[in-house]
C-alpha cells in the first residue's frame, strides 16, 4: 500500500501534533524529505453525526456546520467546496473512509472545545478522511445572536473546518493569564487563533484577512497567484536565525493584518497571497498562546517586539527581496 496513515490532531483550546506539523497557516505532511501542504484534491464530502448534545439536536449541528462551510466557500480568493452527504450513525474519529462531523463526550479534555483528525496520503499530502468532533461536555449555542454563557457552535465549527481544509493555527491574537492558569483572549485577528473568545460571543463567525490569506494560499482561485504578492525575509537575534518568531504584515492602506512564523533555523519567513502594496512588518515572540499549539519543538521567545526598519512591498505576482529584521533579547 502506498497509502499510509498519518494522524494530525488540532484543537481549539489545546493542541498537539502526532506527526511533524510545519506550524502556522498550513498543516504539513512530510513527503520524500520535504513538507507538503495538507489539502483536499476535490470537494470536501462530509457526513454529520446523529449524536446529539445537551440542548442541541443533530439538525442544529448540521445547520451550524452548513453555515460554517458556506462561510469558507464564500471567500472570493479561494476555491473551496463542501458537499453534505447526509446524516450518519458513525462517530467522528473512527477511520471509516468517511469525513464525519459530530459531537463526542470527552470529559477528560476539559479545555478542548473541538478537534480535527486526518487520514493523509503521505505520498502527496492529500487528505483522504478528516473528522471533526465538538466536545459535548460544553454548553453549546446555535442562537443567531449568541447565548450568554454558552459557546457558539458555528464559531467553533468555522475554526475546526479551517483545520479540516488544511489550515493550522494563527498567532494573531492577544491574551491575558487567568487565575486558573488558562488564558483569556483580549483581542483576536483571526478565527484560527487557538484560543476561543468568551462563551456568548459570536464574533468568530466572520473570517478575518489572515484566515482568507491562508485559505487562498491552499486553494487559490484562478488568477489569484498572479494577482497577489508575497513578503520574504529573515529574523535574526545576535546574528543567528530565529525559529518561531511571529511576523505580522500590516497594510496601512487597507488595515489588513496577516501573519506567519519564521519556520526554520535560519529564521526565514514568507507571508504570501497578500494584496500588492507596502506593508509594515512587526516581529513578536509567541507569548500569547501555548507554544505547542504551533510547534512541536521548543522555540526562543526571549526577544523584544521589533519593527522592520522600512516598509516592504509585496509586488503583484512575485515576492519582495528578503529583508532582515534584527531583534534584541528582552
Amino acid at each position: 500500500m502506498r497509502r499510509t496513515m498519518g494522524l494530525v490532531i488540532t484543537a481549539l483550546l489545546v493542541s498537539s501534533a502526532a506527526t511533524p506539523v510545519r506550524a502556522y497557516l498550513k498543516l504539513g505532511s512530510p513527503v520524500a524529505g520535504r513538507i507538503v501542504d495538507v489539502t483536499w484534491r476535490g470537494p470536501v464530502k462530509y457526513f454529520v453525526s446523529e449524536t446529539e448534545a445537551p440542548g442541541l439536536s443533530a439538525g442544529d449541528l448540521r445547520a451550524a456546520v452548513s453555515r460554517a462551510a458556506s462561510t469558507w466557500q464564500a471567500v472570493p480568493a479561494a476555491t473551496v467546496r463542501f458537499e453534505y452527504q447526509g446524516m450518519t450513525t458513525a462517530s467522528p474519529g473512527v477511520v471509516d473512509g468517511r469525513t464525519t462531523i459530530g459531537f463526542l463526550d470527552r470529559p477528560e479534555l476539559d479545555r478542548v472545545l473541538g478537534s480535527t483528525s486526518f487520514l493523509i496520503d503521505t505520498t502527496d499530502g492529500t487528505v483522504l478522511e478528516a473528522d471533526v468532533f465538538f466536545n459535548s461536555r460544553f454548553a453549546w449555542s446555535v442562537s443567531a445572536g449568541g447565548t450568554p454563557g454558552r459557546v457558539d457552535l458555528e464559531s467553533v465549527a468555522l475554526h475546526e473546518m479551517g483545520h479540516l481544509l488544511g489550515l493550522s493555527h494563527s498567532a494573531l491574537g492577544e491574551t491575558e493569564l487567568t487565575g486558573s492558569g488558562g488564558r483569556r483572549v483580549t483581542a483576536s485577528g483571526s478565527i484560527m487563533f487557538p484560543i476561543a473568545m468568551s462563551a456568548g460571543t459570536i464574533a468568530d463567525r466572520v473570517l478575518q484577512a489572515d484566515d482568507m490569506a491562508g485559505i487562498s494560499d491552499l486553494y487559490p482561485a484562478a488568477g489569484r497567484v498572479e494577482a497577489t504578492g508575497g513578503i520574504t525575509g529573515r529574523v535574526t537575534k545576535n546574528g543567528h536565525g530565529l525559529l518561531g518568531a511571529h511576523v505580522v504584515a500590516f497594510h496601512p492602506e487597507t488595515g489588513v493584518t496577516v501573519g506567519n512564523f519564521a519556520l526554520n533555523q535560519n529564521g526565514e519567513f514568507a507571508i504570501i497571497r497578500l494584496e500588492p502594496g507596502p506593508y509594515i512588518l512587526r516581529v513578536e515572540p509567541l507569548d500569547d498562546a501555548e507554544v505547542d499549539s504551533f510547534f512541536s519543538a521548543a522555540i526562543d521567545v526571549n526577544f523584544r517586539v521589533t519593527y522592520a526598519p522600512r516598509m516592504v512591498v509585496a509586488p503583484r505576482g512575485g515576492s519582495s527581496a528578503p529583508i532582515e529584521i534584527k531583534v534584541l533579547p528582552k
Binding site: 483580549t186 483581542a187 460571543t201 459570536i202 464574533a203 500590516f250 492602506e253 493584518t257 519582495s320
Partner: protein, 234 residues
C-alpha cells in the same frame, strides 16, 4: 453724513492713484520674453514635507456581537519628507505675457514612519524608505503687467501634473495627480527687451495639491514647493 462724504472722496482718490500707477508701469519698458519662441529651463525645486496618513492596526475585542469594537494594536504616523528635486522645463510664448510650458521633475523623498500605541513596544521612529518620485506637468504662465525693476518681472502660474512614486525596492509604483498654483518672478541677466535671446533666473513659489500616490488615507495633500531655475529664451 459729512464724514461719510469725506471718506468716499479719499477712497476715490486712492483708486485713481492706483490706476495711474498701473498705467505708469505698463507704459514703461518691462522686460518680456519674445512671442512665439521657445524657452528652456532647468534648476532645482525644494518640496516641503506632508503627512500621508495616521492609521491604526486593529484587532477584534472579546466582546458580544458579530462586530465587536476594535482594539488598537499599534498606530502608525507617516509623512513624505522634504526633498530637493531636479527639474527641466520647456515653454512656448504665446504672447510676450503668456506662456505655456511643460516639464519633468525627479526627486527622492524619504517616507518616515513613527510607531506609537504599541503596548509591547515603546514609541519609535522607523528608518523609513526612500522613494523615487517623478512629476510630469503642464502649466500656463502669465507675466503680470507689473514692474519691480528694469530686469525683474513677476508672474503667476497654474498647472497639473502626473505623479509617479516608486518604492525603494522598485517593484511597485504608485501614481497620482498634482495640481498647483503659484507666483514667481524672472530676473533677466541678458535680453528681455523684445529682441535677441534672453538668459535669466526664475524663482517659483507654489501651493501643490496632491491626489493619489503613496497615501494611507486617500486624501488630498497640500505641500509647498520653491524652485530656482535658469531660463534661456531662444
Amino acid at each position: 453724513m459729512k464724514c461719510a462724504s469725506a471718506l468716499v472722496r479719499r477712497c476715490s482718490s486712492a483708486f485713481v492713484l492706483g490706476c495711474l500707477s498701473v498705467v505708469s508701469a505698463s507704459a514703461q519698458e518691462a522686460p518680456a520674453l519674445r512671442a512665439h519662441r521657445v524657452v528652456l529651463e532647468g534648476g532645482l525645486v525644494w518640496s516641503g514635507s506632508y503627512g500621508i496618513g495616521d492609521v491604526t492596526a486593529q484587532m477584534r475585542s472579546n466582546a458580544p456581537g458579530t462586530t465587536p469594537p476594535p482594539v488598537t494594536w499599534f498606530a502608525v504616523s507617516s509623512e513624505v519628507g522634504a526633498a530637493a528635486s531636479a527639474v527641466a522645463r520647456i515653454g512656448f510664448t504665446l504672447t510676450p505675457g503668456v506662456m505655456i510650458e511643460g516639464g519633468g521633475m525627479f526627486g527622492m523623498p524619504r517616507v518616515a514612519m513613527t510607531i506609537t500605541a504599541d503596548a509591547e513596544a515603546g514609541p519609535q521612529q522607523l528608518e523609513g524608505e526612500q522613494l523615487k518620485q517623478y512629476v510630469i506637468d503642464g502649466a500656463l504662465v502669465w507675466q503680470l503687467p507689473l514692474r519691480f525693476g528694469p530686469r525683474l518681472r513677476s508672474f503667476v502660474s497654474g498647472g497639473a501634473g502626473y505623479l509617479r512614486q516608486l518604492h525603494e525596492e522598485r517593484t511597485l509604483a504608485e501614481t497620482g495627480q498634482v495640481y498647483y498654483a503659484g507666483v514667481g518672478a524672472r530676473y533677466w541677466f541678458r535680453g528681455g527687451a523684445g529682441r535677441g535671446r534672453s538668459l535669466g533666473l526664475r524663482g517659483d513659489l507654489r501651493a501643490n495639491f496632491r491626489r493619489g500616490g503613496i497615501d494611507f488615507e486617500d486624501r488630498t495633500r497640500v505641500y509647498p514647493t520653491a524652485g530656482v531655475h535658469l531660463f534661456f529664451g531662444l
